[in-house]
């Protein structure tokens, strides 16, 4: 009975720790996506030792395969590895609570003071900075995902399809997957 109690409390302690860790990662993870990876690595691999580094790389690869942010998805996978479905829920919810509160407060602040010239000029500066951030994300992603002419054509083909031909983005993304499968059929056989 006592042993059972002890394992129970150890388990719930681990879940609380899990929640707290991802709460922290969520609050500190600026920029989203792969910029949060070093932070996750430090917490999950180096400090808590929940996963080995290779396991985390697998988690990130699978997280990337799913729709949604890499950071939230990998939070879910790490949580699942530590505490099953409950763990996945706790880690993912923990990951988004603080960002949600921050966004809500900023939106509220903006609805009050958004028409002030100072705030407007601030936004004139932040918007291009975010475009720079996105370009950097594209550059990083391209570095690891574009090898050779075929990938380059796919990448710029996608840009052309949505920008000039006004194709639906979802359709373009799904055709990318289909083209990958078709090309694979030719190259393997």
């Amino acid at each position: 009975m006592q042993a059972e109690n002890r394992t129970f409390s150890a388990k719930s302690k681990r879940l609380v720790c899990l929640f707290w860790t991802f709460l922290k990662i969520g609050a500190l993870g600026f920029g989203g996506g792969f910029s949060v990876v070093p932070l996750i690595e430090r917490e999950v691999v180096d400090e808590k030792r929940w996963l080995k580094k290779e396991e985390l790389i697998d988690v990130l690869a699978v997280s990337q395969c799913l729709p949604g942010g890499v950071a939230v998805n990998s939070a879910g996978f790490v949580g699942y590895a530590i505490g099953g479905i409950k763990g996945a829920l706790l880690a993912m919810v923990g990951n988004v609570i603080i960002p949600c509160v921050v966004v809500l407060s900023l939106m509220f602040f903006f609805s009050l003071y958004g028409s002030m010239p100072l705030i407007q000029h601030l936004f004139y500066g932040v918007r291009p900075a975010i475009i720079g951030l996105i370009l950097f994300a594209a550059y990083n992603m391209g570095k690891s995902s574009i090898h050779g002419i075929r990938d380059g054509l796919l990448c710029f083909g996608a840009v052309a399809c949505v920008l000039f031909l006004h194709f639906n983005v979802i359709v373009v993304i799904l055709s990318g997957a289909l083209i990958g499968i078709i090309l694979n059929q030719f190259t393997v056989k």
């Binding site: 950071a71 603080i98 966004v103 939106m107 900075a129 475009i131 996105i134 950097f136 992603m141 990958g180």
Partner: protein, 194 residues
């Protein structure tokens, strides 16, 4: 109530197709909003706030968008729409973790998906530049105090914003950990040069 349900449905749909994460979400979201009859007052500011806040850009953008359309309840509806499918998908995938990932067709699909997603992220940057009037295509409105490069006496490209884009990109190339710093620097330069 109608608006809340519509917000929830739009975000749930986006959530299921946002391969490649938050930045892919931006053009998806802009496209969906054009087709819906929701009134969004400040979409470019919503995206700026979403990028400026910590955490996942997709969820942040949903919360901001929801708030813009229907205040607090709207942000809850959009958040749930964006987040619930995400949770369900991750848990299902976690159950089959290795099987899914090592399956040959999945790997093949991703070899095509990744370059395309890179392209969509590029497109996100381009469509935001148009949306923010940094690249001007129709001449309907311009950034106040903007310094436009003109072609055949049509304003085309806003130079000050372009400088901030270049500054941000180069700073990140130099040190990619300073996301917060580059955003603050962008904001400060905005106050100084506009």
């Amino acid at each position: 109530m109608d608006n809340l349900i519509r917000l929830f449905m739009i975000c749930a749909k986006l959530s299921c197709f946002s391969f490649g994460g938050g930045y892919v979400m931006i053009p998806l979201m802009l496209g969906e909003l054009q087709n819906s009859n929701l009134y969004v007052a400040n979409i470019t500011n919503v995206i700026a706030i979403a990028g400026f806040s910590p955490g996942p850009v997709a969820v942040n953008a949903a919360v901001g968008l929801g708030y813009d359309v229907a205040s607090f309840l709207g942000s809850m509806a959009a958040f749930l729409g964006m987040f619930l499918p995400n949770i369900v998908l991750v848990i299902i995938a976690a159950l089959f973790f290795n099987k899914i990932y090592r399956y040959r067709y999945v790997q093949a699909a991703f070899s095509g998906l990744r370059p395309v997603v890179t392209g969509i992220i590029l497109y996100a940057a381009i469509s935001l530049s148009i949306q923010n009037r940094i690249v001007d295509l129709d001449g309907l409105s311009t950034i106040t105090n903007g310094l436009y490069f003109s072609l055949f006496s049509h304003p085309v490209l806003e130079i000050k914003s372009l400088l901030i884009v270049i500054m941000t990109f180069s700073l990140l190339m130099y040190n990619k950990k300073n996301m917060m710093l580059v955003l603050v620097l962008g904001g400060v330069s905005g106050i100084l040069i506009f």
